[in-house]
Symmetry: C2
């Protein structure tokens, strides 16, 4: 009689499939799918019936109000997507053509693109393996070796360019060491613009991510914890900056009964009311989504505890993560099995993916300045995101 193979005797990829299957229901599971079980249909119906589907309307105002309330930011401004939000936030933070902006090498390409759109250069720095976000200690060492404080701000000695801002990103929803970074911004007179695209519902020592810097941004793309179809927002505690953001994304048109005067080169970046209607319904369910995702993280943590040299990423101490994308971390010693694991899981309908290609490895950003990046080089070999939808727990 043949004995069932015990999990620990299987190959690692098979073990991982078995562990995922012990948490998830049968069938295929995407990495992240949205969940519309609240007032989505109702609000969107109402929005169309009102005929206000475009750039103004009740839902845009309401979405901005509720988002500010939820995050504790004084103001929230809704935009067409998170990339646009970051571009405008960086512009309002004073990033100009020819500047450099410190961004993680481990991020989605939009972080670097937003810098590039302004004619500035992304300057890639390393992340901590504890938070997956920018590492203040590594950054402090790096700035000590390349940065020079001048009356006009900090200058990169090697490139001669001004370093204007720093854009931490809270990877997969886990808050980075934002206080460590804030201390550096004071030392070097840098603006802090938080890319909280992935971390709606995540807190650092009780304060919502995206509310620490001069401006922060969130994303409501279809794969995020809540979605507006496409959408993003700027968070800020600075009322005049919020007004400026709103003005800039509304083609910088001055208020007038009929005249069309634009006092700046503005953008067409407002979130349509139709999308905000969906967003209002989604925000109402965010507390439930957060609870589900936390539960899923716990279940995954339990089952993967049985597999040596593999662990589920958990929130850093003092932080509360939204657990947007659940992350499996392989030990460096088994990192060479990453592609096999990706193959096997995807082949059986369990969608998984590695971390993004590191920014400095993309041909478009290969020439940009960068710090030593040992930690993200290792992380990028070891990260596997696994099915993470709120509906799974």
């Amino acid at each position: 009689m043949q004995q069932a193979t015990s999990v620990t005797e299987m190959n690692l990829d098979k073990q991982i499939v078995a562990s995922l299957r012990s948490v998830l229901s049968r069938g295929a599971h995407p990495l992240h799918e949205p969940c519309f079980q609240g007032n989505e249909q109702c609000y969107v119906h109402e929005c169309i019936a009102s005929t206000f589907v475009s750039s103004t309307g009740y839902y845009v105002d309401e979405f901005e109000r509720r988002l500010a309330e939820f995050t504790g930011a004084r103001r929230a401004v809704a935009l067409v997507n998170g990339t646009a939000a970051l571009q405008i936030a960086l512009k309002l933070a004073g990033v100009e053509q020819g500047d450099e902006v410190l961004v993680p090498a481990l991020t989605f390409v939009a972080t670097a693109n937003a810098v590039h759109y302004l004619g500035a250069t992304p300057h890639f720095v390393d992340s901590s393996s504890e938070t997956l976000g920018l590492d203040p200690n590594a950054l402090a060492d790096w700035l000590k070796s390349i940065a020079e404080r001048t009356p006009n701000g900090t200058r990169n000695r090697r490139t001669g360019r001004r370093i204007r801002a720093i854009v931490p990103m809270h990877t997969f929803g886990h808050p980075c060491d934002i206080e460590g970074l804030l201390a550096l911004t004071t030392d070097y007179r840098l603006q802090l613009v938080e890319d909280a695209s992935e971390s709606l519902g995540s807190y650092y020592h009780g304060r919502h991510t995206g509310t620490f810097g001069l401006l922060g941004t969130v994303s409501f793309n279809g794969n995020k914890i809540i979605t507006t179809g496409g959408g993003g927002a700027i968070l800020t505690n600075d009322e005049p900056l919020a007004d400026q953001a709103k003005h800039l994304i509304t083609t910088a048109k001055k208020q007038h009964r009929w005249e069309y005067i634009h006092d700046d080169v503005g953008y067409n970046f407002r979130m349509p009311n139709l999308n905000a209607a969906l967003g209002c319904a989604q925000l109402e369910q965010l507390p439930d989504f957060l609870a589900s995702k936390r539960l899923l993280a716990e279940r995954y943590t339990q089952v993967f505890a049985g597999i040596p040299r593999v662990r589920i990423m958990i929130e850093p101490p003092g932080c509360r993560s939204n657990y947007w994308l659940q992350t499996l971390l392989l030990d460096e010693s088994i990192a060479d099995q990453r592609n096999t694991i990706l193959e096997t899981t995807n082949n059986v309908g369990l969608m998984t993916r590695p971390a993004w290609t590191l920014m400095h490895r993309l041909s478009i950003y290969r020439q940009c300045p960068r710090a030593p990046l040992p930690s993200v080089e290792s992380l990028s070999r070891r990260i596997i995101n696994i099915p993470s939808s709120a509906g799974l727990a």
Copy 2:
């Protein structure tokens, strides 16, 4: 017994109010409001139920397919708005940092902004009072005086910059003399990118506007003849260019099962499926909207025929206009009454507006090169847009 004052004895502003009232129902009338009497609620409901509300899905594909079919373009690519569509179309047409692009001084600011976003300079040229669009004769004279043909294309002798493209805009839906302009693009090796934001459903000699140049763009903003909340599209007969457009607006991410490789600095500019669902329903009603707007133009033409020195703008010979925004043209001799007319009409709830501030008069574009602009200077004193919604006829 007091006699009723006849229309011709009234002041001009009162005559115009009376004429508008004879066509429109009681109450307030915005300049343009959308009309959702088709499958809008149904398709959007279905879209949310499918959970595909974001950057991919049935409705995006379907909207692109139907839009191509309607316009006769080989391909249509849906974007987040018309400004983004123009920016990407210009980029694909080869506009680079430091180039000049010929654009009408009489246009919405987005036309000039799209050029500016690429680091290029808008160069403002005059429009014809017959079409309200770029005047090929005036442009030919201007190019003769400033343009120099070189092996690398046309050079502006005065600024030293390359003139790369020309962007005619079909103002208020009326087709401009696109064939006259095409002849110039051949002479001067310029790319033609049509800004057909306002002219969905308008035809020049039987061919849909936006399909003459290398690429054309349309807008589906809330005030347009059909709306997707916010949205736009690129039209082109060049399949590889359409594929490139789709790639560029999808963060230039290469297709791969799990890897994130971006081979260009791309954009996050796709139209969400939610907005495309609304668009599919709107496109179905476009023929009805076109018929209504034509009828409204006829009614307006009739009633304003009774007022001397005032006329309704009608489609240029050989063209079929979508009559997106109905336009009252004052004779130059009464242009000084424009503001009074705007005041009086808006005060009684009949929304009217003048033409946009001419681009070269905005502080942001004052320093840009420009041709003599006698025709648009006159037009901008004489144009008044009046209530134009499809639901009015």
